[in-house]
């Protein structure tokens, strides 16, 4: 080790709190991701509740206009970037290696880095409540984000933390792309990949292609704000519509980034609790790929009222409508899966079925938006939040909840309370419809979105009251979920390795999995290999190489490392340095942060994955 310029003793499998800081174990990182993101979800929920209280009746004065505008902006940004995306990432981390029969991910330290960067971005965004958070809406349309309109630091925090979150997402996605392509167990061909892994893989690809676009958009905005560039400066000929294009070129693929992992989860849960294989596996995979592909051709449907002209609107109308076709294929194949099955209504199954029911609603209102002339009556009304919450809450969150319960035995090693789970399902199911369904009504009744108050004489009072009431049912539901998870993670019944009689590889190993996951790397012979193994009895062979001589100690795993944490910390400092760039020395803090980050990355790249043998094992 002394051959390396920077030689700080390397952490050697530390335990306790410190262990979490240096861990590169994908399962632990998955848990870190999940817990953090869930807390972020709660903060976003609290923001939503505050908004709902303010809108419970006409002309209420619970929060001010300025605070309300921060609330919905932070709520949207939080839910999308700090809740749904990282919750999906939590599953990528924990589940993908287990499903493909790998002992770890391709780049364990990059993975750790991804988590710490995510945390940095999340903290930065959320702490911006102190001193005024961003208030330009989650898509931050120019020129509301310009210095002239918005001189405070709120927008700066929003920009910089989105950049950091982007780095986190990119790091994770590169990692999972390589992991899925390159770390599959023998025999695990692409067309034998479990559906969740497939959808996550597609998501990762979408992500690495979509994020650079918003990175550029944010860079341009940064330059405008900090150095008076002209990108979105109308006075010098800039176009505020360019921002919208760049944002939605990213933004629409982004919504599929949010939903595809949830679709993957549902595609795992339905077969297991119907005791049937997924109907039309290949078609479902193909549909996922087509959705990802078509997702790039529809972005301007968010801009139907901007005045792009009839021809452009017609083109985007057509492409947008067509995207319903591959999505429909998925829905119908899910129906085909439970059709003729033997359905067990466990909590995850209920959430998955709820997903189909609710996502369908959201999908159909999406197609209603696609009809651009009548969308002119819906755009920027509550009909949009109605659509968006049906696909995001009814879709992404329901799918994620399904996953949280489905894999609960695997990651915690315990069983949750089924009864409590079911009650929470019904509360959430009913709560979300009471909350979000009336948004269709008030939307069509002419209520614009993003208004902090409304007049008494508009006829919106009743349904807004109902919506607010529904939000409180949701609070109850989530409190039950929290309690169920929290209590049983500690004191639940120990879980067997395969409590659901499931189909995929992660259920073939103990709950929770040992650090090395698989004692012997499995050899995969078919789709749903674990199920086949259980059905076929003894046709499972010991790997030819005689892995049996291995025991847990011989399997060498990537070693913990400080550097991902250090690099992320450097990034955080640099980020604050950019926002407060005139602190003491101009840009001094940013320079310090960058230096720390740079040192971190340098040391990291010089540090071998595994110390004892100086070899490049991943070469």
């Amino acid at each position: 080790m002394s051959t390396f310029p920077i030689s700080i003793p390397r952490p050697v499998h530390p335990t306790g709190i410190w262990g979490w800081f240096t861990t590169v174990d994908h399962k632990r990182i998955g848990i870190l991701y999940g817990v953090t993101a869930f807390i972020m979800f709660l903060t976003g929920g609290v923001e939503a509740i505050l908004m709902r209280v303010q809108l419970a009746g006409p002309e209420l004065d619970i929060v001010s206009a300025a605070v309300f505008n921060q609330l919905f902006t932070m709520h949207g940004t939080t839910m999308i970037f700090l809740a749904v995306m990282p919750l999906s990432a939590a599953f990528f981390n924990f589940i993908i290696p287990l499903q493909i029969g790998a002992r770890d991910v391709a780049f364990p330290r990059l993975n750790a880095f991804s988590y710490w960067t995510f945390l940095a971005g999340a903290l930065m965004l959320k702490l911006s409540w102190i001193g005024g958070a961003t208030d330009a809406g989650w898509f931050g349309y120019a020129p509301l984000t310009s210095v002239a309109q918005n001189p405070g630091t709120g927008i700066d925090f929003w920009i910089i933390s989105l950049q950091i979150l982007g780095i986190a997402s990119l790091a994770a996605s590169f990692n999972f792309i390589v992991t899925v392509i390159n770390m599959r167990a023998p025999g695990m061909t692409m067309m034998r990949l479990p559906l969740f892994t497939w959808m996550s893989f597609i998501t990762a690809i979408l992500l690495v292609l979509a994020f650079p676009v918003i990175t550029v958009a944010l860079i341009e905005l940064t330059f405008d704000r900090y150095f008076m560039f002209n990108f979105f400066n109308v006075a010098n000929g800039g176009s505020v519509v360019l921002w919208q294009h760049l944002f939605w070129v990213f933004g629409h693929p982004e919504v599929y980034i949010l939903i595809l992992p949830a679709m993957g989860i549902v595609s795992e849960v339905l077969p297991v609790f119907s005791k049937k294989p997924l109907f039309g596996y290949k078609t479902v995979v193909l549909a996922g790929i087509i959705i990802a592909f078509m997702g790039w051709m529809v972005w301007s449907h968010h801009m139907f009222t901007v005045g792009l002209g009839a021809v452009a609107n017609a083109v985007f109308t057509v492409t947008t409508m067509l995207i319903a076709v591959p999505t429909g294929i998925k829905v119908f194949n899910w129906l085909g899966t439970i059709w003729g099955g033997s359905i067990r209504f466990t909590t995850p199954m209920l959430f998955s079925i709820g997903f189909i029911a609710m996502f369908l609603m959201g999908g159909i209102s999406g197609v209603m938006h696609a009809v651009s002339p009548s969308d002119a009556q819906q755009q920027d009304t509550y009909f949009i939040p109605a659509h968006l919450h049906y696909v995001l809450f009814g879709g992404a969150i329901m799918g994620i909840l399904s996953g949280i319960f489905y894999w609960f035995p695997k990651y915690s090693g315990k069983m949750y309370s089924e009864r409590q789970g079911k009650i929470s399902f019904w509360l959430i199911m009913i709560g979300q419809n009471v909350t979000f369904f009336p948004m269709h009504f008030v939307g069509l009744d002419g209520m614009p979105r993003r208004i902090y108050t409304y007049a008494d004489n508009m006829g919106w009072n009743f349904w807004n009251g109902v919506t607010t009431g529904g939000a409180f049912i949701l609070v109850l539901g989530f409190l039950l979920v929290l309690d169920n998870i929290g209590r049983h993670w500690k004191n639940g019944e120990p879980a067997p390795s395969d409590p659901w009689d499931a189909r995929t590889l992660e259920w073939s190993i103990p709950s929770p999995p040992p650090e090395y996951n698989f004692k012997e790397i499995p050899i995969v012979r078919s789709l749903d290999d674990w199920w086949a193994t259980k059905q076929g009895g003894a046709n499972k062979e010991v790997p030819a190489s005689g892995g049996s001589e291995e025991n847990g100690h011989d399997i060498h795993l990537p070693q913990p490392s400080y550097w991902p944490f250090v690099s992320a910390a450097g990034l955080l400092i640099a980020a604050y340095g950019v926002v407060f760039n005139d602190l003491l020395i101009p840009w001094g803090l940013a320079a310090i942060g960058l230096t720390i980050g740079f040192v971190g990355v340098y040391a990291w790249s010089l540090e071998p994955v595994n110390d004892p043998e100086e070899e490049d094992s991943t070469h």
Partner: protein
């Protein structure tokens, strides 16, 4: 396809499914993603082309012969990079180092040109003879109209091209600046490799991946410049565009 290559298990999890290196795959995925990064910057540049409200415009500041030289230097650096890699795989460490250094030097030369270019654009100054102005660009005509009306003998421009000046400045400096930043990072990377190559056993004909990756990055930066040179410089000065 890919899956048919399923690597034999050596009793350990060392082998990869496709037999390809993780890191090289990561590099390619990154380059694919970086295409979108530069793509967005180029899109912004093109969308704003010709939309600047005032000069100077490309035709006023660009000096195609000078940029041609720096383009040539960057192209050559790509060649020298590939030769460095080639030398390494042939176990020609000396050749490797020489080519590596020359790549870095050419990269630095390119950056030098860019610095020169930026500063000359920023200080761009025209002086127009009011009596016999000759052929004028739109921008120069503007200066002529402004400055020569009151019977002066000469008219001068006051400001050069800064990012704040107009849309062209904004988009041009951002696009080429980010390219320059990529090159700079590449130079640091190459120099790091050079240092490492003096440590025993770190970079060897067998362990050439580190160099391979740096080379990929370097060539990518080169191809981005190929696009920029054509789209920004050549098209930019082309009158009909």
């Amino acid at each position: 396809m890919a899956q048919e290559h399923a690597a034999p298990i050596h009793g350990k999890d060392e082998g990869t499914t496709t037999g390809l290196s993780h890191r090289k795959m990561l590099m390619w995925a990154f380059l694919g993603s970086d295409c979108m990064f530069f793509g967005s910057l180029i899109a912004t540049y093109l969308v704003y082309q010709g939309k600047s409200l005032e000069g100077p415009l490309p035709i006023d500041v660009f000096d195609i012969p000078v940029t041609s030289i720096s383009t040539f230097v960057l192209l050559m650096s790509s060649m020298s990079m590939v030769l460095a890699y080639s030398a390494l795989t042939k176990n020609n460490m000396k050749g490797f180092r020489i080519w590596l250094i020359s790549t870095a030097i050419m990269g630095a030369t390119f950056i030098g040109f860019q610095v020169y270019e930026f500063s000359s654009f920023a200080n761009h100054h025209v002086e127009i003879d009011c009596v016999s102005p000759g052929e004028l660009t739109k921008y120069e005509q503007h200066i002529f109209d402004d400055g020569c009306s009151s019977g002066e003998a000469h008219a001068e421009s006051h400001e050069g091209l800064k990012p704040q000046t107009n849309l062209f400045g904004t988009t041009f400096y951002t696009l080429t600046g980010f390219h320059g930043a990529h090159v700079t990072l590449g130079i640091v990377w190459l120099l790091s490799l050079l240092l490492l190559s003096f440590k025993k056993g770190v970079i060897t004909p067998e362990k050439n991946l580190d160099v391979d990756l740096a080379a990929l990055y370097w060539h990518f930066v080169d191809v981005v410049w190929i696009v920029i040179f054509t789209v920004v410089y050549l098209f930019g000065v082309f009158p009909g565009f």
